[in-house]
Point group: C2
């Protein structure tokens, strides 16, 4: 994943072990899991890991994009099969949140950005474009308030991210309640006086996600 040169057979095998170990460790403990632990799970020394991946982000970028891509595609397929535009949007958002709730690595991937994980960033940015379609359809149908934008969906994912982390041990489904309340806030009929601030720009959102 770091270069195109052909690897020696043992190196190739070790690379695969590292990626498998990383995927497992990320899934169980999130993307900040110590790299040493990943090397250990792979039965290799930390040096080998660093030898293959120059940084944590490089490893993340080798392992996560495929996962995220598949998961998002699945959510999108489900959502787009639904007639009712409000339903479609909520199903999509809910499915993404289910990913967050069920997998610490995906929770991180959805709510943060990793500066040197370029492929992952690309996937996540693309995801927003799909979500925009669903949102606009729901707005056109009058179900969703007209004064909100895709960037506002980030608030939902951030909230879910935090709630899941805090409550996974004590009330692992409570994020669904919070999400329901939040989604109700997006309904057209919920709108109160004009929103007090403009939505985040894409750039602001990107920068903010680097700060998490």
């Amino acid at each position: 994943m770091t270069e195109g040169v052909r690897l020696r057979r043992d190196a190739q095998r070790n690379l695969e072990r590292l990626m498998a170990a990383a995927a497992e460790a990320f899934r169980e403990r999130g993307l900040q899991v110590p790299l040493e632990e990943i090397a250990q799970r792979a039965g290799l020394s930390p040096g080998t890991l660093y030898n293959r991946f120059r940084s944590r982000d490089a490893l993340i970028d080798a392992v996560m994009p495929a996962l995220v891509e598949a998961a998002v595609r699945d959510a999108l397929a489900h959502a787009e099969a639904i007639e009712d535009p409000w339903e479609a949007l909520t199903v999509y958002v809910t499915m993404v949140c289910e990913l967050q709730a069920g997998n610490p690595a995906l929770n991180d991937a959805v709510s943060r950005r990793f500066p040197d994980a370029e492929a992952l960033t690309a996937i996540c940015d693309a995801q927003m474009d799909h979500a925009r379609g669903l949102l606009q359809r729901a707005q056109a149908a009058g179900a969703v308030r007209p004064d909100c934008s895709v960037e506002d969906l980030a608030y939902l994912f951030w909230a879910t991210s935090t709630i899941v982390r805090a409550t996974v041990g004590v009330a692992p489904q409570t994020w669904r309640r919070a999400l329901a309340l939040n989604l109700d806030g997006l309904r057209a009929r919920a709108a109160g006086p004009a929103l007090p601030e403009p939505p985040l720009t894409r750039t602001q959102l990107h920068t903010a996600m680097l700060e998490m």
Copy 2:
């Protein structure tokens, strides 16, 4: 703050320096600021700090309750002076969020719990009882959906906590937009189908706040 015995004069002076330094450091950098830095700001050695406060929580508990109490009382006074029950609730919530946005220490105090900071915990728990009054008034007036409870307000504070941390450098007021959307989700007219999960119990909320 640790015991009732009378302190030697120099020790008393050092204690005050420590608490002032802690208040300042907490305000600027949040409650997880290195204790070493606090000692340094006070012009004392780390040993002295540990000598006076057995743990970070003890220091937090010596410094924060007064601040939180004053701030919450102020917010409550403002809110209770407002006729319209919906206004009153939103003003209260907004003022608490303003505290979160303007002061990392208060942001931590509002959204987390510190097991050995008992006075602080007591203040924060009491706060919820006041908020309950405002919420119930707004529900009785038909402004707020009947199926939500004070514990649900925690979702707002958690969300604000996260959003503030992520966006303070890039769009420091954007939490107001997120909050407006969230508050709209609490309006009676926003309610969709029944909420999917029961509210958190007080105990669950408490445990969850320890996990943050």
